[in-house]
């Protein structure tokens, strides 16, 4: 008989600050050694469910509990956060906020330091778990020297150091690039197999998690458990579409081709998927959908000519980068963390001055222009809207740039209203910003740069950390903006985003431009994929598996069909 380790019985939770319960009527049992995926859209309550398990609820976030939650037979509300943390190790989503040590070793040792464990034992335990996550070589590194993936490994080691029995991952993929995310899932898989610890992953990036093994998937929506199924059963149902979670792309392709997905096909991964039955259908669909190659007008808006940049003469961060951006383009700038994408964006906006080279905007050299003057041509939107918002009300926030420029009040009003209308915020113009959702705040920051009248806007990771619904919302807004004639450059490492929305991508690696092409072509180039920490899309693997001759063309036709289907 399997031993239950986590038992929710008629469990409900109501945050003190909210008007209605966040979780209600939860019944869920997780057995020893199981690996469970909990998915659900943003605001569904899936993170709260995780907080209940590690004790943040109700000890850190106060509220009212009804029903029962037992971990190893102990009622959690009668325990303390410290007791629970000795049974449950948690890895949170923000690698910077939870890496609290000055060095990796200290961060790993933190839990034991707090238990007043003697130093010799600290050394021993740190070495043991650091080995488990392959970080033994980096024990004396500072957080500034480590990549996002490495910081996550350190945190994982730190949460396991006192032999917890349960590992809880709260959106472990949110801040990682595609290749690093894949490695993270493989690491979680390996640790689970090696140690047999009960493992719970909370995520909305389903396809990426299914790269590893999962026993069961629990769907949460509006605070209730909607389903508790094996991956094969879940992927054969309509539940994902109903809750707004993105299914793996290869399954979307099969559905477009009119195939019925059943558990018999073993759809949980491409490796297990039985393609034979549906091969003819897929080929027939491919023949039936064509795609129209859109001719881009070659009207150059922005041109970088042989740009070099470095903080010191000996170390160049940007090496001889040249490219052109055409009017009306929607383009992505991709590459791994630290490759130089953000530095390039800052060079374009005038935050840094290149050591050599020219930046031309409509043929005019920008080098002589100040940051503020460039702001009239090029808008820059930071990743997190909270980094930009300084006013309490939408109107004031959008008007700020015009006020700095000393524009007359009447003109400000007209321009702000116009920008708000473009961004779909006109109706909310007198709202306080604190009442807005993340996506709406993002639109406020976009409106606040649009109001200055730029023809080009640069966005840093516009959809980072967003679930499928919000991703769609933001991207469709940007798509519409682009249709209205605004040229858009997006810095991103989201493969779907690049494939689905942009017509061209520029790949940066180690400060150099290594490729400039259509996204589908880029994702077919193994060298570029490796250098830029990208990941092949599962559509290629599907095309490969179904014996398509031209896999790249299969991907292009899929994207084209998908855009039409979703009416973009």
């Amino acid at each position: 008989m399997r031993k239950p380790v986590i038992e929710f019985t008629n469990f409900s939770f109501h945050y003190r600050t909210q008007s209605s319960p966040t979780l209600s009527g939860i019944n869920l049992t997780i057995y020893e050694g199981e690996k469970i995926l909990i998915i659900g859209p943003s605001g569904s309550g899936k993170s709260t469910l995780g907080h209940c398990i590690n004790g943040l609820v109700p000890f850190f976030y106060p509220g009212e509990i009804s029903g029962s939650l037992k971990i190893f037979g102990k009622e959690t509300k009668k325990e303390s956060i410290f007791k629970l943390s000795s049974m449950v190790g948690t890895v949170l989503q923000d690698p910077d906020a939870q890496f609290i040590g000055l060095t990796a070793a200290e961060d790993i040792a933190f839990k034991l330091e707090n238990q007043f464990v003697p130093q010799e034992e600290l050394f021993e335990s740190v070495n043991r778990v650091a080995d488990l996550v392959d970080m033994k070589e980096h024990l004396e590194s500072t957080p500034q020297d480590l990549s996002g993936g490495q910081k996550q490994r350190v945190t994982l080691a730190g949460s396991m150091i006192d032999d917890v029995n349960i590992l809880l991952f709260d959106e472990p993929l949110a801040n990682l690039d595609p290749a690093t995310g894949k490695i993270a899932i493989e690491l979680i898989d390996r640790i689970h197999k090696q140690t047999g610890k009960t493992t719970i992953i909370i995520e909305h990036r389903l396809e990426d998690v299914l790269h590893g093994e999962v026993d069961r998937i629990v769907i949460i929506d509006e605070g209730c458990i909607l389903a508790d199924l094996t991956p094969n059963e879940l992927l054969s149902s309509n539940l994902l579409i109903d809750t707004g979670i993105r299914e793996p792309l290869y399954l979307t392709a099969l559905r477009y081709a009119g195939c019925t997905i059943t558990p018999m096909l073993k759809p949980k991964s491409l490796k297990t998927l039985n393609i034979e039955v549906n091969k003819t259908k897929l080929h027939a669909w491919y023949e039936s959908v064509g795609y129209a190659e859109k001719k881009q007008k070659n009207d150059v808006l922005l041109e970088l000519k042989n740009i070099h940049f470095g903080y010191s003469k000996t170390k160049e961060i940007i090496k001889d980068v040249s490219f052109k951006i055409n009017k009306g383009e929607l383009l992505s700038l991709i590459g791994k963390n630290g490759a130089g994408k953000s530095t390039l964006a800052k060079l374009i906006c005038g935050f840094y001055l290149p050591t050599a080279g020219e930046i031309l905007y409509e043929g005019e050299n920008l080098i002589e222009q100040s940051i503020k003057e460039r702001g009239d041509h090029i808008g820059f939107v930071l990743q997190n809207p909270n980094q930009m918002i300084s006013q309490n009300f939408i109107f004031d926030e959008v008007a700020l740039g015009l006020k700095f420029r000393g524009v007359a009040d009447k003109e400000i009003k007209d321009k702000v209203f116009h920008a708000l209308k473009i961004c779909g915020l006109y109706e909310l113009r007198n709202w306080p910003i604190s009442a807005l959702s993340f996506g709406q705040k993002k639109r406020v920051t976009i409106a606040s740069v649009l109001v200055l009248g730029p023809k080009l806007i640069l966005l840093d990771e516009p959809t980072a950390g967003q679930d499928y619904k919000h991703y769609n919302e933001i991207m469709e807004f940007l798509w519409n903006l682009n249709q209205q004639g605004i040229t858009i450059i997006m810095i991103t490492h989201d493969m779907h985003l690049m494939l689905e929305y942009t017509n061209r991508a520029i790949v940066i690696s180690e400060g150099q431009k290594i490729r400039e092409d259509e996204p589908a072509n880029i994702l077919a180039d193994e060298d570029v994929i490796r250098l830029a920490n990208l990941k092949e899309t599962s559509l290629y693997q599907l095309a490969n598996k179904a014996d398509f001759f031209d896999q790249r063309d299969f991907v292009k036709r899929f994207i084209h069909f998908d855009r039409r289907t979703r009416q973009l």
Partner: protein, 276 residues
């Protein structure tokens, strides 16, 4: 954008080998002596000792030269200011007046003033080599452990470690926010009314504050989940046990302290007076 700041440099020397706690006690006592005494004999001895200690650390001067020059500039300006404000401070202190040179109006250079300002400068010059040395020879992680070791509550010691940990992250936040607002047109260097400048400054401070308040929430949750504050004491990964050298160093500095205090207050006055 890379601003030079003092930070730990890994090296091998007798000073590096001392534990952070011993160095901290030493530095505190050393500063106390230099602040309390105005006895020129002690200050001269300490100044020479300070330079010898610095040399024995094998820290290259170029690592600290930028800060040292800023400090010299400050000393120079401070000396000028003192003379401008109070040319007779020395006379008042030593109760005699030996004129050297009459400059203008009531500005007369006296031997007493020169001696007083020499002493003041010497006070600063005895502290600075050890302060710089403490910064570049103590690993920040060990520093927090040392604070705890000399009796500071581990919660406060840990708060210091957190501050050191997050300075680079917050600097990055500040620069990003400031750049994005500059693109929207903020210019704080421009000549304009102060109240306007302050209102502009608030549009950089507000986002920084909200990001930081969020950070406080997340970090609190993260360290609570890992058992911070659950015990009366905590151990430190980077703490180093005291060795013979540490005890020796602390004993020497205590001796120096006692000896200096006796000499300083032997004649019932902090000020050594050669003019009588």
């Amino acid at each position: 954008m890379n601003h030079k700041i003092l930070s730990y440099i890994h090296q091998e020397s007798p000073i590096h080998r001392l534990t952070g706690a011993a160095k901290l006690i030493g530095f505190i006592l050393w500063s106390l002596i230099a602040m309390i005494t105005y006895d020129t004999r002690i200050l001269v001895v300490m100044f020479i000792l300070g330079i010898m200690i610095f040399l024995s650390s094998k820290v290259e001067f170029r690592y600290i030269s930028f800060v040292f020059y800023i400090f010299l500039l400050f000393l120079f300006i401070n000396n000028i200011a003192i003379f401008l404000f109070e040319p007779m401070q020395g006379v008042e202190m030593y109760h005699t007046k030996h004129e050297i040179l009459h400059i203008i109006g009531h500005y007369t250079l006296t031997a007493e003033q020169l001696f007083y300002q020499f002493n003041l400068t010497l006070k600063y010059l005895t502290i600075i080599p050890l302060a710089l040395l403490f910064m570049v020879t103590t690993h920040p992680s060990e520093f927090a452990a040392s604070l705890n070791k000399i009796g500071v509550s581990y919660r406060i010691a840990y708060a210091v470690a957190l501050a050191l940990r997050y300075i680079p992250d917050i600097q990055r936040d500040y620069q990003n926010i400031s750049l994005a607002q500059q693109a929207r047109g903020i210019d704080l260097s421009k000549k304009q009314k102060l109240t306007k400048k302050l209102r502009y400054a608030s549009s950089i401070l507000m986002p920084l504050i909200f990001l930081s308040l969020n950070r406080i929430e997340t970090i609190s949750a993260a360290i609570e989940l890992r058992g911070f504050g659950s015990q009366k004491r905590r151990s430190w990964y980077h703490e180093r046990p005291f060795t013979k050298e540490d005890y020796l160093a602390i004993m020497l500095i205590i001796l120096l302290f006692v000896f200096s205090m006796i000499i300083t207050f032997l004649d019932g006055n902090r000020f050594y007076n050669p003019f009588r």
